[in-house]
Subunit: 372 residues, 4 copies
């Protein structure tokens, strides 16, 4: 396949992360044409120019529409705040570009639906930035499930915890304002749900509790204001397959920095994973002598593709940003018509629908169907 | 205090465990009169005699009523199957004996209520065998909570998992029969609830899901039979204090052998504990330089009483049976009128009421108040 | 076999530990006659009487010779300071008693030799208190080695670390005085060597470095005194089998409480063990798909005898004192003429000879043969 | 500082790793001019052209001398087999280029000495590729040592283990041939020594044992051949500061994939690190209540620069290749005259001298001075 021309909108952390991936994908994989970094868009034009130089883009604009209009651009990375995703994604798709949009898709189900329809009309690839599923450890986990390594799955537990809201002295800000959404549910739930959906299929029914560790938070100008979002959410769930499980998210969990802990139980074994030790997988198989059974700590290595494209020796460790390079590679393959492992809009909208169902279940106090 | 005369009813594992504790408590603690092992009761009289010799009891009977009637007996250990607890406990209390009864109290709320009333009438000590709370690690955890080491508690997670029902080839037996109760909820939930209640107070409201990993199990005589109990239960809960939490129990969780995992989050830190590593505690405190914050693995030692009564050097490890020795010591102190850390009938009945509320919540599909 | 009559000399921690074991061994194992606790000796007669009551002994004496002379005593537990072992052990053997003597055997090779000769002359069982080898985890490790689970052994690493001398403010005392011996080598090395010898056979050659973390220590009366012993010892070694290895001991290792870390490498796998997590074993086998290989954490359980004699469910955890109960049981079996797993004088003297060779190697700065 | 022109010689894994770093360093750090990837050299000219396209280099040559002669090249990355380092490095330095040469410097001490002299004559920066020291976790470890967080250091242990030679069926090849050097000592020892030297200063004296897990290895053509190198080396050492320690390397350690385990003990605490969990650090400080002391697991995060340049949230994990990006940044800073953390030839030659001293100590069987 010929070299793809890349446009990038947004130069915050995720913009940088996309740019690093576009720079690294050809050297890392060695079997694809090096993408050309064509056009960078950023609202402030002088920042745009500086960033273009730094990130390796040939051109820069203060108007994102120029990126989308650029005939040399084949793919547009959208890494702006969530509220702009819909307008930009739809415009890019209508301009005939493939898109790689950071999650969540949009701030409302209606917008997400419109994006999905634009993608369908365009026939272009519309992928979401769910990088956790790209971890070779997760890829191997998926392969283990598919080959029946732990038998028929009967239970799953997912926890995602960080501590950036754990300090009661964190002042009232956007994240505590109801206009930002539900709270931890928006911030976090899509990530474990991307894993859950990819590994075990969609969620069918949920019942939810949400909690506020701090009733109010201090205001910068003195005094305090009642917190309107929930830093904690706890969900009982049933998958479409009937499997029972739980999803717990907490953005005020002191000591947890990037935890996404996964426990999957099957009729012949169990698998554990924790994103804080992203190069490890724990596998228990009820095989062989009982006296020798135990959880096996598998260190990711060259036996877990595409780890070997990064490092030729096992156990040396990939990093968080490497997952984006793998995602870029999957996207390039997908555009080239090859099989790829990605969350596209068709699947992504289901993840977001699940989050909204969880929020409704909290309001009603009972089970809610996710619907489809 | 003078030496107590001990009666023991039941010689299964828990009977042996009580006997070991009665044999070890004086040598271990060195500051109490060595209990006299007076009378052992066991339905088969020749077994009773053999066991009395082995366990160090002076007398043996084939009728438990003889134990209760023995004037030299001051305390009766009741370690028979749950269905016999009520009759024996009430008889012993009416005979003026203190009792140490294995949990759960009874197989119905009515029986438990009758036991509580008998205890109140007798004025004797009526303690339940909730040994996990006796771990010096848990004692220190409680002290940490009380001194505010992690601030105001805002979230708690409890999981109890084993794998004795994880194999679908385990034949249909008593544990799959609805007459045995709900399933994992009966087998397990009282243990984490004893920790929860002791550490954070009672549960107020619950919503529950329960699941069957295997719809049917093979019959010994060929064919199979539909499973009537649930090996998995997942509960969202609110404590009386308002704190949100979850309780998950699973007796078909491959690889888990004696897991009781506890996560407690507060406004200034977090504490983790896992019964499979019962000599360790994890403490995170949001103090000092951020660059040096982390979960601290505290190995139980001489700084965590009464560890030092077992071993004079830290980090050498207590075992599961040692917890019963500590419990025996607490019971002796309680009988002697000293402050003690025990689950007595007054508290125990609340634990069992909570389990029943969890089961009702599963039936109704919504939140249920535990009541009091 | 008939019930054995037990004598105990010494009532410090190890005396208590022996007493606990003698009290627990029959209830725990259920297949041996309950030993009779006959006679306790302790230099202070009133302490002796109090302790006898507490520990369950029928008689007490202020003179240890009375214990040895007691015709009802079959076995004598010797738990006094090391300097008294030789005299007591020889006297007991000459009086026709079996002995269970705490390690090390003696404070000189000459004394140890005399003890061994007394044992040979007597024809009685002369066992040493090397309890770490009694751990079911170690028993299973030994079985794994014997069945070739990790192929031919080619390398071993042993570390034993605690921190009771880690604080420079610990005043100059007996342990820093050259009359106490070499330092960490005496305190610690016999323990890992008991494991090494039991699992992999004797040590043939060594080269040693020793170090003093603190050149001097404060005196209680003010001022300070030069430290004469070494809190750290590092040894390169070759086993008689030719296997290369290292032994490191450090009694000033902050944070280490009861660490005895063992790494054994073979041609087909590896095994790891750490006494601080004494209910776990790590096994790596180079078998099956590379993508699923990893260290397996085996929790000790009912598949690892005699764990099941303590607890009928796996993963619940034995404690340090339980190892002494197993040792008592092995001793009883040995006395009864059954196969038993014990370090007797014949083997024990080799362990001590190895320690002395290590010390000589430090003086000479080169390799020293252990001899035999 | 102006943008540097980059030349790269060699396109194996380390060449790719350098190229990834040169591509990523400006986007990652955002405060340096993006290096221009000018000229790639590789013995096969058509491979050179393909790789130049892939890795982002403007020009390609089949002759490495063209890279060095290129006037637009300011810095030359040398990533060819070790035997070519000396010739290339000296030529590049004489051509007035800065160099970034993979370790080890050379295959003989004489060559390394010549390289050092060329560097001195040129006045250019001559850095070695010791990436492990660039880990933010190691940077923080160093800061902790410097601020006295664990007091005066008194003991250190270093182990480096992998398992690529653990299988006896690995055929006789270059690594078993004496012409490749000593064995594990060459392959591994420089890595832990780079950490040791950086953190605690140079090694003064050593005594060494080396071992062959397999006496012979199969030949591809049938039969077998005696192994001439040692897959295991064990070293007792003393630092110039007097601190005692050990260094153990094993390339046949089943289950170890990228282990570099470091234990540092001081008068007030201890620090542990393992490269297989490169985003974690364990810190024990003998401070505060004894009952709360324990090893603290610190997850690398934004408090550990330059982690924050990669990811704005803590605990998300850097990877092995990210260390090379940090190294590139240090090199650019060093060339620009700013303080930088690098192993340059002056220090690097000491590391290699230490390895040779270790080998001599094995031959002599006694202590050998490293010299200077």
């Amino acid at each position: 396949m010929k070299s793809l021309g890349i446009g990038l909108i947004g130069t915050g952390y995720m913009g940088k992360c996309h740019a690093l991936a576009w720079n690294a994908v050809a050297p890392t994989f060695g079997d694809i044409a090096r993408p050309r970094l064509v056009h960078l868009g950023e609202v402030n034009e002088s920042v745009a120019r500086k960033k273009a130089e730094e990130l390796g883009f040939a051109r820069a604009s203060g108007d994102w529409r120029a990126v989308i209009a650029d005939p040399e651009v084949d793919v547009v990375s959208i890494t702006t705040p969530n509220e702009f995703h819909a307008e930009m994604a739809i415009a890019a798709l209508e301009a005939g570009k493939h898109i790689w949009c950071e999650k969540p898709m949009a701030t409302s189900e209606a917008d997400a639906r419109a994006m999905l329809e634009a993608a369908r009309r365009s026939g272009k690839v519309a992928a979401l930035g769910y990088n956790y599923i790209q971890n070779p450890a997760i890829g191997h986990l998926k392969a283990l499930l598919e080959e029946g390594a732990i038998g028929a799955i009967n239970h799953v537990r997912l926890e995602m915890d960080e501590d950036f809201m754990a300090d009661g002295a964190v002042p009232f800000g956007w994240k505590s304002d109801r206009r930002s959404g539900y709270g931890a549910l928006d911030d976090f739930a899509v990530h474990p749900l991307s894993l859950l959906t990819t590994l075990l299929g969609p969620v069918a029914r949920v019942v939810t509790d949400m909690a506020k560790p701090f009733a109010e938070r201090p205001l910068a100008e003195g005094g305090s204001r009642a917190v309107e979002t929930h830093d904690i959410a706890n969900v009982l769930l049933r998958l479409a397959s009937g499997v029972s499980g739980i999803l717990l998210v907490n953005r005020s969990a002191w000591g947890r920095k990037g935890r996404i802990a996964l426990q999957i139980f099957g009729s012949e074994g169990s698998i554990l994973y924790d994103q804080e030790r992203m190069n490890e997988l724990q596998l228990y198989q009820a095989r062989g002598p009982v006296a020798e059974q135990g959880f096996r700590t598998i260190l990711t290595g060259t036996a877990h593709p595409p780890y070997d494209r990064f490092i030729p020796a096992p156990g040396h460790g990939l990093g968080f940003n490497d997952l984006k390079v793998i995602e870029a590679r999957e996207l390039i393959r997908r555009i080239g018509g090859e099989p790829a492992h990605l969350v596209e809009f068709e699947t992504g909208i289901g993840i977001e629908r699940t989050v909204h169902a969880m929020a409704r279940a909290f309001e009603t106090g009972g089970w809610v169907d996710v619907g489809s």
